[in-house]
């Protein structure tokens, strides 16, 4: 018997998607769509927060509701809500497509919520596919003619290739154990992880999640997709989608029970490669969205350090890192949305004189960039500290040193953006950056979160630790 109460947040999201589905059928009314999206996502966020204490195993054991999944659902939903907050000026998407835009965003959120709770490889694969498909279409929704087609198609092909490899890995894992249920795998994988069949299957099955997180060999879609997508979609990919990827990657790596030395070496390789590739490529980017895409690749590398450490602090650090990434990347994209004109992409120079034009926004950007570079006292510093400490506990000092070098490299391009915002005076009459009162409050809340995460992270760390406690053997 299924306990439907546990499934209420997902059912609610499905109903919300249904509302937008009916909006699609009628005449396009962007104002109504936006209002409905605000109300529905806010109510959904409240509902997910209320359901954070739920616990149980439903749908014949393939769907696990616990603190881990519920907190991730809250994070994913906050990502959804925050992105909807940016949709007041949705000029990057054709007016007649707004209801489809919200419908797909809603379905993608639903899929990620399902992903956070799936403990069976089949359910997990399908939910991953739903979220990827929604994002392929969302990237394509950008207004304009030809430039969007190639990146969207590239994104689709790479995603399809990654999920094919992942499915092959799942097949090998299933072949080795005769079971695709994580609870059963958790008992059997640690002892047999060194068998070639299991090892190959396991590593290949990670590729789909690497694609989601934009880790090194699967990151090539990121800059083009970020650049081609509407700003709000890029923001969604950089926040909610990354959080979901971290959630499922931590769950998968936890299956090895800390026994997978060879797997750890593979992860160390991809981690170092994606940090280095991301940071070096970001150095020469002019377009802010491309820069943020490469910075996402680099941050995926840092997150991997926490995950590959495979100890309590590493998992908690990765979860905390997901939260911090969401806040910081959201602020960056808020600036992009507000500073851009009619949904166009902007260069770093377009931020010139931002501290005159919108002081609150500029302050938030300052903290977010400091956080991304890992400068105290911001939430980004705490996150990096946690994952680096976890790696030190595992005796991976050299990995931490490599990561520190990368942090120094990244400082350069983050500071370039800051220089544009604070020290460059704009030539001529710059566009006014009007920030409505609710958005000002939102920026204020983000500033508070970033500082609080740097100065008093205790509560969040304890939460992250109790979330991941169930994943350890």
């Amino acid at each position: 018997m299924t306990d439907w109460i546990l499934f209420i947040p997902e059912l609610y999201t499905l109903a919300a998607a249904g509302v937008f589905f009916f909006f699609c059928l009628g005449r396009a009314r962007p104002g109504r769509d936006y209002a409905a999206a605000m109300v529905l996502s806010a109510a959904g966020l409240v509902l997910t927060v209320c359901s954070a204490g739920f616990e149980g195993l439903i749908f014949e054991g393939v769907y696990r509701v616990d603190l881990y999944s519920q907190v991730f659902k809250v994070l994913i939903y906050s990502g959804f809500f925050l992105v909807v907050c940016l949709c007041a000026d949705l000029s990057g998407v054709d007016e007649t497509r707004h209801s489809e835009f919200y419908l797909l965003l809603c379905l993608c959120t639903l899929a990620m919520m399902l992903l956070a709770s799936s403990v069976h490889l089949l359910t997990l694969y399908i939910s991953l596919e739903i979220s990827s498909y929604s994002l392929y279409v969302l990237v394509y929704l950008r207004r304009g003619s030809s430039q969007r087609v190639k990146p969207a198609f590239q994104y689709f092909v790479m995603g399809a290739a990654a999920s094919a490899v992942m499915l092959f890995g799942f097949a090998l894992v299933y072949g080795a154990f005769g079971s695709a249920h994580m609870a059963e795998l958790m008992h059997q994988v640690p002892a047999r992880i060194h068998e070639p069949l299991v090892f190959t299957g396991f590593v290949l099955s990670l590729s789909g999640f690497f694609f989601k997180l934009a880790v090194f060999p699967f990151h090539f879609w990121a800059p083009d997709a970020y650049e081609a997508a509407p700003h709000q979609v890029s923001a969604y990919i950089a926040t909610a989608s990354k959080v979901a990827a971290i959630a499922i990657l931590v769950r998968m790596i936890a299956l090895t029970g800390g026994q997978g030395d060879r797997v750890a070496w593979v992860l160390i390789f991809v981690s170092v490669a994606s940090m280095t590739a991301g940071n070096l490529a970001a150095l020469i980017q002019k377009d802010i969205k491309r820069l943020l895409a490469f910075s996402s690749v680099a941050h995926a590398g840092y997150v991997m350090i926490g995950i590959l450490s495979a100890n309590a602090m590493g998992y908690a650090g990765a979860v905390f890192y997901g939260l911090s990434l969401m806040v910081m990347k959201f602020v960056c994209f808020m600036v992009v949305v507000k500073a851009s004109d009619g949904g166009r992409n902007i260069d770093t120079e377009a931020l010139a004189g931002l501290h005159h034009r919108a002081p609150v926004l500029a302050l938030a950007l300052l903290l977010a960039l400091f956080g991304l570079a890992g400068i105290p006292p911001t939430i980004g510093f705490t996150a990096k500290l946690l994952v680096f400490r976890a790696a030190m506990d595992q005796g991976l000092l050299w990995l931490v040193i490599v990561a520190m070098f990368n942090v120094v490299i990244s400082l350069y391009y983050y500071l370039l953006v800051l220089k544009a915002a604070y020290y460059t005076e704009s030539e001529g009459r710059p566009r006014e950056v009007a920030l409505s009162v609710p958005l000002k409050c939102l920026a204020g809340a983000m500033i508070f979160l970033m500082v609080a995460g740097g100065l008093w992270p205790g509560y969040m760390i304890v939460l992250a630790e109790s979330m991941t406690a169930g994943l350890l053997p």
């Binding site: 749908f59 014949e60 393939v62 769907y63 497509r97 489809e100 419908l103 797909l104 379905l107 639903l110 899929a111 399902l114 069976h120 089949l122 359910t123 399908i126 939910s127 596919e129 739903i130 498909y133 929604s134 392929y136 279409v137 394509y140 929704l141 207004r143 304009g144 003619s145 072949g175 005769g178 068998e195 070639p196 069949l197 090892f199 190959t200 009619g342 949904g343 166009r344």
Partner: protein
């Protein structure tokens, strides 16, 4: 090493699959490529049957060789892609593709040789009757079945959007931005 009749069949069918798949990706005419792909899928179905999975073989014929290939043919005939003038598979790209595959194969071989011989074990044959399969799927995994319907919805929206965007581009050539 003794070759049973099964082994002989296996290698013949495997060779057929590889050859027809190779033909499928090298044909310039799209319809020919699709037909070779049908051959490849049918041979795969035979292979499944040989390995003791008749249900899977039937699925392979009905779904892949049947439904999906008909869809492919529809698309090819509706869109009528112009025959490619120049080969998109240049030597460099071909080398890159083979390089990537080579790394994969090399890694797999290294792993296979590093393993102790007793690590390899034949998988237990699991022949499922259609009844058992259906019961298992809709009893234990009906959530996944429902989720697939959502996936199809998303794919449908995407296809609709792509189709409509194409028509609009034809009617109004000039678009802002």
């Amino acid at each position: 090493m003794d070759m049973t009749v099964y082994a002989v069949f296996f290698y013949i069918i495997a060779a057929l699959i590889i050859v027809s798949a190779g033909m499928a990706i090298t044909r310039k005419h799209m319809v020919h490529a699709v037909l070779y792909l049908v051959v490849s899928f049918l041979a795969t179905a035979l292979l499944f049957y040989l390995l003791g999975a008749p249900l899977l073989a039937v699925f392979q014929v009905i779904i892949y060789a049947g439904a999906i290939m008909v869809l492919f043919l529809f698309i090819v005939m509706m869109i009528r892609p112009a025959p490619a003038g120049e080969r998109s598979l240049t030597a460099g790209r071909l080398a890159a593709a083979f390089g990537v595959c080579g790394i994969y194969v090399a890694a797999a071989l290294v792993l296979a040789f590093m393993a102790a011989p007793e690590a390899g074990r034949p998988m237990a044959a699991a022949a499922a009757s259609p009844f058992a399969f259906g019961f298992y799927l809709f009893d234990r995994h009906w959530l996944a079945v429902e989720m697939v319907s959502l996936l199809l919805l998303v794919a449908l929206i995407g296809a609709l959007h792509l189709g409509r965007a194409g028509r609009r581009n034809q009617s109004e050539r000039k678009e802002p931005l």
